[in-house]
């Protein structure tokens, strides 16, 4: 099961209710539930947005856009209804944090959606959960129904004179739908093809109405910020990177798990102390620090602060908070192949650089890893990936290209060792010839 872990360095600003039965609304109320939304009502729309700006909360989906600013982009007057859309289509490989939020603190998501709604003048919000998370959709549906039964949702919420409805929605298996414009398409009952921007969702979003789209962790952080105060929350993190982050430690470490650490926590310490170091007494080979789509870091590059700006300076991204640790027994070519196979499978096919680029990279890496590569393949892969960057409607093309560029640049010698039919130096870990190829 998805068990909970703990470490003394954790600062449980948003995960402190986990494991305390807070999915039950009465227990949630005992644990200060639905107080934040009442505070927000008193503050009014401008007060809420100022509080959010002061918190320095940045989008937890990966891009790190300041949440308060995002909310301020929604026009005050709109002929069409405004909407809040919670992105719970968690599917970036290496990321499993929203799952724990929905399981252990579902009402915090509802409260976050409500506060966002109050800030921008929306009357309804949707919580989109990936189709695989059926057990969470059952938890979420019950949480919403319980909130209605208590009178917290619907007409005149908490005597504010304002109405607010929250609905859940389910996906059916698609990574691409985690991208905000594809998410809206999916919720509208269509294929998850990205929309061209501008117009941005804050102006023209769901069913043409202004829409705020935030990651589940972002929205779940909101009520906690209102309870502790924006200033206090901001102080937990580093400048311009407020608060905490749910880091999903996975891969070849002793103590994998989801840990809530202050923004800017040292990545090396995260791996060796919080995560208990590399398993089986092995050595660190690489870290993919923000979900599968970010460039990998070498062992001599991990002594850095895990926040949006420091990661960017180090040539990678904080991304989704998925920290994937590789030991020195792993084959980077194989890892790169599995990464690109994923993106090839998930590319929606709308933009040619992404559709053809992921397929070409995949074919090259399949052949290369099987021992039929030629030296020119290495440069070709880099050239091809670099030419995908910035040439697609949505970031999936970049997400596929960035890790491949890093693998080829940083592990060139290992790619060369696979050349001209030489056996894979790591072949003991899964026979090369049996590499499964997804056929759909």
């Amino acid at each position: 099961m998805a068990y909970l872990v703990s470490h003394p360095d954790e600062v449980k600003a948003i995960s402190w209710r986990w494991g305390k039965g807070a999915a039950d609304i009465n227990r949630y109320l005992e644990l200060d539930g639905y107080k934040a939304v009442q505070k927000a009502i008193e503050m009014g729309p401008d007060g809420i947005i100022n509080e959010m700006k002061a918190s320095n909360l940045r989008g937890r989906g990966g891009a790190g856009f300041p949440t308060g600013m995002k909310w301020s982009f929604v026009p005050k007057e709109s002929a069409k209804p405004k909407y809040i859309l919670c992105n719970g289509d968690e599917s970036e490989p290496g990321t499993c944090k929203d799952r724990l939020i929905f399981e252990h603190d579902p009402h915090s998501v509802i409260e976050g959606v409500m506060i966002a709604g109050l800030a921008v003048g929306a009357k309804s919000g949707y919580i989109y959960l990936r189709g695989e998370y059926r057990y969470l959709s059952i938890i979420m549906q019950k949480a919403i129904a319980d909130a209605y039964a208590k009178g917290f949702l619907g007409k005149n919420i908490f005597g504010s004179g304002k109405d607010f409805d929250v609905y859940w929605h389910g996906g059916a298996g698609a990574y691409e739908v985690g991208e905000e414009s594809a998410l809206m398409e999916s919720l509208e009952g269509k294929r998850g093809i990205p929309r061209i921007r501008p117009p941005f969702p804050a102006v023209v979003g769901l069913w043409g109405g202004p829409t705020v789209i935030n990651n589940a962790e972002t929205l779940a952080s909101v009520p906690h910020i209102f309870m502790m105060g924006a200033q206090k929350y901001a102080e937990i993190g580093t400048p311009k990177n407020g608060g905490t982050r749910l880091f999903c430690l996975s891969g070849n470490i002793e103590k994998p798990g989801v840990y809530e650490l202050p923004m800017g926590y040292n990545l090396k310490k995260m791996i060796y102390e919080v995560g208990g170091g590399i398993w089986k007494g092995r050595n660190l080979k690489a870290v993919v620090p923000g979900g599968s789509s970010v460039p990998a870091l070498l062992p001599n590059e991990v002594d850095i602060a895990a926040d949006f700006d420091s990661m960017m300076k180090a040539g990678t991204m904080l991304g989704s908070g998925g920290v994937i640790v590789l030991d020195d027994h792993q084959c980077i070519v194989k890892f790169a192949l599995r990464t690109i196979k994923f993106y090839q499978h998930e590319s929606c096919g709308w933009c040619i650089p992404c559709r053809e680029g992921t397929d070409w990279l995949n074919k090259t890496l399949v052949r290369f890893h099987a021992g039929a590569g030629v030296k020119k393949d290495i440069d070709n892969m880099q050239y091809l990936a670099e030419n995908m960057l910035g040439r697609t409607f949505c970031p999936l093309g970049d997400a596929a290209a960035m890790p491949i560029i890093a693998f080829v640049k940083k592990f060139r010698e290992e790619f060369e060792a696979h050349l001209e039919g030489k056996p894979c130096p790591f072949a003991e870990h899964g026979a090369v010839s049996e590499l499964p190829v997804l056929s759909h």
Binding site: M1, A2, Y3, P81, E90, S91, E92, P93, G94, T95, C96, D98, R99, R130, G131, E132, R134, Y135, D165, Y167, H169, G170, G171, A172, G173, A174, Y175, S186, L187, E188, G189, K190, R191, W207, C248, L249, S250, G251, N252, P256, G257, V258, V288, S292, G322, I324, L326, D327, Q330, K334, F335, R338, T339, F342, H345, C348, P436, L438, S439, H440
Partner: protein, 158 residues
Amino acid sequence: MHFSDEFEKRYAEMVGHYPTKRSILVPSLLYAQDEVGYLSDEVIAELAQRCELTQLEVRNVISYYSMLRMKPAGKYNVQVCTNISCLIRGGEEIYDHCKKKLGIGHKQVTKDGMFSLEEVECIGACSWAPAMQVNYDFHENLTDEGVDKILAEYKAKG
């Protein structure tokens, strides 16, 4: 085409949540599939009519989502993740073990219709890898022996 009362109750409730008819399509396709086993021509025709879409438009949506299928799967659909976090903790070996144990490959069904197998992309169990889902149930921190036990339990349930 008749769905269960449970389906109809959920459908009637959900349809009121959206300003457009077709918005209910994706979740209702998945619920219909759970009941019927796959998205049959009848299911497609029914939901197309309810959403005021052509059947082609519905098929167009179905083909986009990896969980939706137009052929029956086994009673227990075993979905093994081999994506990166699972890969480096033995996800491929777990998938190979399932292939051998069940005697089937990707998207195939056992002769008795009890099990089907799929190699899937990340299911959000990275910190508890390697992992798989059987239908909607998560099974994590897998070993070959653990998989044997899990499959035996499903088989015993029948």
